[in-house]
């Protein structure tokens, strides 16, 4: 079944190979929308709600790019992708940009022919475990059966972690996220491993969320970043600064509610950022008001974080590493000038 999918993608690669690729920006402008690859089943990052509206941190980041290019957050078509098919879809030109909680790594950046834009979520791999096992630390997991999602860095991370600590593990690898969660909740595995944000999402849909806990150990660095095809620098800049605009806005104290008042601000940084003083838009090949539009229509980074994954949502994730650098986190935007 999945073989067929991979095969289909391969054939697409062959078919696409006949097209000469112009810059993605021209392509996107010509067709009138951006084809964005998203997760499709990850609550809080990329999932359609019960009315069919796409929601999530990754989806909102993609909307920011749509606003930057078209001045509207809805010039988007979403392609739900599995962990296995996502890169091939981008390589083959099936999608224009990949916003699918995707970890930036050296080999993906090089051998896979991708380019990563700025990180929009700092994550790390952890373990979800039933409380009744009485395990307090990942170091006690020797001999455990571990449910793992295939086709991610997770498989390698967890193998590395057990090897480094001289422990044995027995992986159960099931392709489908929902099927894997079902097997885990039925007790097929002692623990489930994935990025901590995904574990929070899985725990939220457990038959009884209070029976499960996420272990405090974080065993890997998972900088999740949007990806574009290698070698298209202009398109990468646009994706990059669309996300950075949301981070910069939070730092400057600009929100979707006060952005109109901020237009009158005397602060030269804010004037440049919102396009009152012109220059930034032209440099990127975009409208001078692109940053203003993003904040007005999508919001700043803090707003999209709280709306999708923050403490008041079902996921209940603290800002942590994803706070601004001024608040002890890692979110940091270069100056917009």
């Amino acid at each position: 079944m999945k073989v067929l999918k991979v095969l289909a993608v391969c054939i697409t690669v062959l078919a696409m190979s006949t097209l000469t690729m112009a810059g993605t920006l021209e392509d996107v402008r010509a067709k009138g929308w951006i084809q964005a690859g998203v997760n499709g089943s990850l609550f809080g990052f990329g999932k359609a709600d019960d009315k069919g509206v796409w929601r999530g941190l990754d989806v909102d980041s993609a909307r920011a790019v749509s606003v930057a290019v078209f001045g509207s957050p809805d010039k988007l078509k979403f392609t739900p992708l599995t962990a296995k098919t996502r890169f091939t879809a981008l390589q083959s030109g099936e999608i224009d940009v990949l916003f699918r909680n995707c970890t930036q790594t050296l080999s993906r950046d090089t051998a896979l022919g991708l380019d990563f834009a700025v990180v929009n979520y700092y994550d790390g791999q952890g373990f979800l475990i039933p409380k009744k096992l009485g395990v307090k630390s990942a170091k006690e997991l020797d001999g455990a059966t571990v449910c793992v999602l295939p086709g991610t860095t997770t498989e390698m991370n967890v193998a590395d972690y057990f090897r480094t600590n001289g422990m044995k593990m027995n992986p159960v690898v099931i392709e489908d996220t929902a099927e894997l969660a079902k097997a885990f909740f039925a007790g097929r595995c002692d623990c489930l491993t994935s990025d901590a944000s995904q574990l929070a999402g899985t725990r939220a849909v457990a038959p009884n969320p209070d029976d499960y806990m996420i272990l405090p150990d974080i065993i890997s660095k998972e900088p999740l970043a949007p990806a574009v095809r290698h070698g298209d620098n202009q398109w990468k800049d646009i994706v990059n600064y669309s996300v950075l605009a949301m981070i910069n806005a939070e730092e400057l104290g600009i929100t979707s509610k006060n952005v109109d008042e901020m237009l009158k601000s005397k602060n030269p940084k804010i004037q440049r950022f919102l396009g009152v003083t012109k220059g930034n838009g032209k440099a990127l090949g975009l409208d001078e008001k692109f940053a203003y539009n993003i904040i007005k229509m999508v919001g700043n980074y803090g707003e999209i974080f709280e709306r999708n994954v923050g403490v008041n949502t079902q996921l209940g994730i603290e800002r942590g590493l994803n706070a601004l650098w001024t608040d002890g986190g890692l979110m940091y935007s270069p100056p917009f000038k």
Binding site: L141, D160, V172, G231
Partner: protein, 393 residues
């Protein structure tokens, strides 16, 4: 005659000579195929290079760095991709091999039951065939897998009908004899017994042809197969030490484990394919004319001889070709293992593709492996088919 022929071939122009024309068409088709192949390959290579995507099979020598749930050979995350893929290859081979054997046995049994004059047996077999033929195999796999992990208890509450055997959602775990050199000799003894059996059968056939005296090959063979290994076990010092599974920490240590994934896959494949094999067997038996049975009985053959000498040789001619195709189906369907977490070749290759990003090479490997499985199965079955074909006199 000769002159007319010569004259004709001179008269017909090049374009209207069917022989020459067909050669021309074939050359044209071959050229077209070669051009399309060259175009696709060269274009893909150029584009892969332009996007700086790695190509080639060099990744096979890199460290795999991921674990695999079950393996027939020693494997750890420190091994190379080539070894990880061999683990997947052997897992596919294991489930297909055992699956095919069980399917043929169950299918034959069901096919015969379907023809039974006993109303109950007949209807049960018919019901089974209709039910399992009509439900998609993927659903059946999900059903059996969910059945195993939902119904069975956790390792700490494992069912243990008798000492040394445990049943839980980690699988069926049972004690096996502790490793000892004598078991190697026992395996060799079995091999020797099989060879002797084969020679014995030839000799008995020859003797019967010459003298008309039958030799009890069947009982001697059973005695050989059981006796030789037993004797070598006695000579080797008759070791009785067992590796008994013990619950340690999260799981059982020692003994042998049959995982729920393997069991679900095997069960699903066998039950599904056996329904088709049953119909093939029924068709084969029904293709033998009833007069053959009556004639055989009239010359006084026993029921066993009737089946072995009259019915089966004729039915097998009809059974073998479609049976081969069912065997191939089973092997190919085993790739659905990815859905229920059994680490078969497709599952392992999928992980390799994702970690290295070399989808084209990975899919190529998958295709080659299934081609090897299928071609060797059909080669064996074609050989068997030729052997079974009735020699016309």
């Amino acid at each position: 005659m000769n002159t007319i022929n010569n004259k004709n071939s001179e008269d017909i122009s090049f374009w209207y000579d069917p022989d020459k024309r067909s050669i021309l068409y074939q050359i044209g088709a071959a050229c077209l195929f070669a051009f399309v192949a060259w175009y696709l390959i060269s274009n893909t290579m150029a584009n892969l290079e332009r996007q700086s995507i790695a190509t080639g099979f060099g990744f096979l020598h890199k460290e795999a760095a991921f674990e695999i749930g079950e393996s027939l050979i020693e494997y750890s995350a420190a091994d190379r991709y080539a070894r990880a893929l061999s683990v997947g290859f052997l897992n596919t081979l294991l489930v297909s091999f055992i699956g095919i054997i069980l399917t043929v046995i169950l299918g034959t049994f069901l096919g015969v039951a379907r023809l039974s004059k006993n109303w109950l047996i007949n209807k049960c077999a018919t019901g089974y065939i209709e039910l399992f033929q009509d439900i998609p195999i993927l659903l059946q796999l999900f059903f059996w897998y969910a059945f195993f992990y939902e119904m069975l208890p956790s390792p700490r509450e494992a069912l243990s009908p008798f000492n040394g055997l445990f049943l839980c959602n980690r699988g069926l775990i049972f004690g096996i004899p502790q490793a000892h050199p004598v078991y190697k000799y026992m395996a060799m003894a079995i091999l020797i017994a099989v060879i002797i059996m084969f020679l014995l059968k030839k000799w008995a056939q020859k003797r019967q042809d010459l003298t008309g005296k039958a030799f009890p090959v069947f009982y001697t063979s059973i005695a050989l197969i059981l006796g030789l290994p037993f004797v070598s076990w006695l000579i080797g010092g008759a070791p009785t030490e067992m590796s008994v599974p013990v619950l340690k920490g999260f799981n059982f240590k020692g003994g042998l484990t049959i995982s729920p994934e393997f069991a679900a896959l095997l069960l699903g494949l066998v039950l599904y394919t056996a329904a088709f094999v049953a119909e093939v067997v029924r068709a084969g038996i029904q293709s033998v004319n009833k007069g053959q049975t009556e004639a055989a009985m009239a010359i006084g053959l026993k029921p066993g001889q009737l089946l072995n000498l009259i019915i089966l040789p004729q039915a097998l001619r009809v059974i073998i070709p479609p049976l081969t195709s069912q065997m191939l189906n089973l092997t190919k369907n085993s790739s659905l293992a990815v859905a229920i977490g059994y680490p078969d070749f497709v599952s392992v290759a999928g992980t390799a593709i994702n970690q290295t990003g070399q989808a084209i090479e990975g899919v190529l490997l998958i295709m080659i492996v299934y081609l090897i499985f299928s071609l060797s199965t059909s080669a064996f079955m074609n050989w068997y088919n030729k052997k079974m074909a009735i020699i016309e006199r």
